[in-house]
Symmetry: C2
Subunit: 100 residues, 2 copies
Amino acid sequence: MTAMRQLVGEVLRARRMSQGLTLRDVSGKARVSLGYISEVERGQKEPSSELLAALASALDVPLSKVLLDVSSLLEVEEAAEAHIASVSSIARGAVSASAA
Amino acid sequence: MTAMRQLVGEVLRARRMSQGLTLRDVSGKARVSLGYISEVERGQKEPSSELLAALASALDVPLSKVLLDVSSLLEVEEAAEAHIASVSSIARGAVSASAA
């Protein structure tokens, strides 16, 4: 399972790119260091609530929308994991049935 | 604006209570210290992605659903703030019109 912070980073990066903004632009608007934003986007730093709010504001997107996007990505992952677990359980059943 | 971590705490606490679980129950299932969970629920600690995933799992709720609930609460706050900002701007307009 991808850690939530990686999905947060992906969502923030996609928002920034879609607006044609550079890390430097967002760093200036959010008053957060460029290196820190870059680490957050790559899922290497767990951003605090305040930092997330500042980044969302610099990207002109409500924080609720950022979370909604992260939730949607997570939901897809959860569904995929549940599917893999169910397929693997069916496969194990088939293997033990053929071994019996 | 309420910090996101406070809304995360509220959502986790509401989930725990709705299942009739104690902090001790969740602490045992998630293998996270009781004091830490209590601080997270009160919005005093910023939980890491891994901790959030462990708590959601202990509460038998997908992490995507926890985030969706937090997003909904934030959206209500954002709408209320926008409303206050617009009312206050109308009031300022009225005051400067009557002063002119």
